[in-house]
């Protein structure tokens, strides 16, 4: 974990209620896809945890759903605005277990961390199959971005306004080597039940500190109590008590 000041270089709305903010600064604390950062936002007491969507040299991209005061303020940040950010939080996904044909399953605002994961996998010559699920066409984002990495993308929407009508579990392929999932808990649960292989799922919880001190985001697992912020947010399928 590092505490750094990051400056906004770009902010844009990319879908209904979804915004993207690009920062510049020292991002060397981030070591794995699936990790998150915790931002101090003016006027709010607690930091806001947001997963890493993309990482470059001195550059961090966050994509998030505008749901409350914190994310609204972030989406309205101007170029040059500075944020106090804790970087490199959480364990992240383990790329070494991907195999030759990993499946990436993202639902709604759970899609962003899979982008950096897909990028790292393709850098290693592993081409993932990406399943994206959204409520409706207006909320869809990143299909082209995943395709630009060379990934095969399958899309589902709940109302059928884009891609196949249904949930990500309705478009699961027959064969894959391993899976990585991120999305709302009902989706994770459905993926957990339907998955044919081992895999990793990334969880969300209201956090106090984001770095393991307060026990605000604990959950029970097969291997004992875990803090989503420090021991997660990514849990191995076999650890989850579902």
């Amino acid at each position: 974990m590092k505490q750094v000041i990051l400056k906004v270089i770009k902010t844009q709305a990319i879908a209904a209620t979804v915004s993207k903010t690009v920062f510049t600064g020292d991002v060397s604390g981030i070591t794995a896809p699936g990790q998150f950062v915790n931002l101090r936002i003016g006027g709010l007491y607690l930091r806001r945890p947001i997963s890493v969507c993309d990482l470059g040299e001195d550059m961090l991209t966050l994509v998030y759903k505008v749901v409350g005061k914190g994310t609204a303020a972030l989406s309205e940040a101007k170029v040059g605005d500075a944020f106090d950010v804790l970087t490199g939080l959480g364990n992240g996904y383990d790329l070494s277990r991907a195999g030759d044909a990993p499946l990436l399953i993202g639902g709604g605002v759970g899609v962003p961390p899979l982008y950096y994961l897909a990028k790292k996998l393709t850098e290693q010559g592993i081409v993932p199959h990406v399943l994206l699920g959204f409520n409706r066409a207006e909320e869809v984002f990143f299909v082209k971005e995943f395709e630009a990495l060379g990934a095969k993308v399958s899309l589902a929407t709940v109302d059928g306004s884009a891609g196949k009508q249904g949930f990500v579990t309705d478009i699961l392929p027959d064969s894959y080597s391993y899976f990585y999932a991120c999305g709302p808990e009902p989706m994770l649960k459905a993926v957990f039940k339907a998955a044919k292989t081992d895999g990793e799922l990334s969880f969300e919880e209201r956090m106090g500190c984001g770095f393991g001190a307060c026990m605000g985001c604990s959950c029970k697992t097969v291997t004992g109590y875990k803090r989503i912020c420090k021991d997660g947010p990514v849990l191995r399928k076999g650890e989850i008590l579902w």
């Binding site: 974990m1 505490q3 101090r40 709010l44 007491y45 607690l46 930091r47 804790l86 919880e205 209201r206 956090m207 106090g208 500190c209 770095f211 393991g212 001190a213 307060c214 026990m215 605000g216 985001c217 604990s218 959950c219 029970k220 109590y225 420090k230």
Partner: protein
Amino acid sequence: MVNVDMKTKLCGILLDNPVIPASGTFGYGYEFAELYDINVLGTFSFKGTTLEERFGNPTPRIAECASGMLNAVGLQNPGVRKVISEELPKLQKVFHKKVMANVSGFSVEEYAEVCRILDAEEQVSWLEVNISCPNVHGGGLSFGTDPKVAAEVTRAVKKVTTKPVIIKLSPNVTDITEIAKAVEGEGADGVSLINTLVGMRLDLKTRKPVIKNVTGGLSGPAVFPVALNMVYKTAKAVKIPVIGMGGVASAEDVLEMILAGATAVEVGAANLVDPFACKKIVEELPNAMRKYGIHTLAEIRGKA
């Protein structure tokens, strides 16, 4: 540059400075030791420890508030035996000072048993007995709101330990000085205050409480004036040392607490929003003392 002395004596044990991370915001120390040398602290109060392992309350346990936060963690901890066998050895590698053990229980006997077990631990120099946790049912707070019960816990704990016993008091009472006097009467070596104030938030989207436990404890700068007033009143009411806490976030806040009568100061929620908060306060304290012409903490203690 004028020399200033930050040292303070807490129940007969000298601290290099009065800054103490509060229980529940600092784990067992070693997460923070990865970030900075925690030996710069006066000491710290480790995560509230009970006889048996506890998961605590269901999540969500945390909610945002204006200038503060609610928590309803509910005393998650591995139990006192695991604290001794696993957490303290890890702590010993990174912290070379004596630590304050924070103890909770669900019966008078449990408080006494945990204190008896911790009494044998050389790393522990003070027992901070939490009779004020607002987030557990049938325990914690119920011991801290009745002077008779608070006195009973103190009496039981004092019997099983020779270490200084500091009773952590709740602000959720009509008169905190009554409880402070009751525990002083049973031989408490100090009191620490305030624990969190009971509060709640509602989510307008779900029309339900944000926190699954419904209520949580309010902490952060929002409670500082309330805490300061209670420290001020309590320090006048008892002769034993008072540890001031509640919303402390700066060196100036520390000095206000000492001026109100505190012997040492605990820092809680600030650690969660800025992991370097206590280090910064320790570094800033000499400058703040010079700024206000303070040479020793003793010269301003209780002088407000």
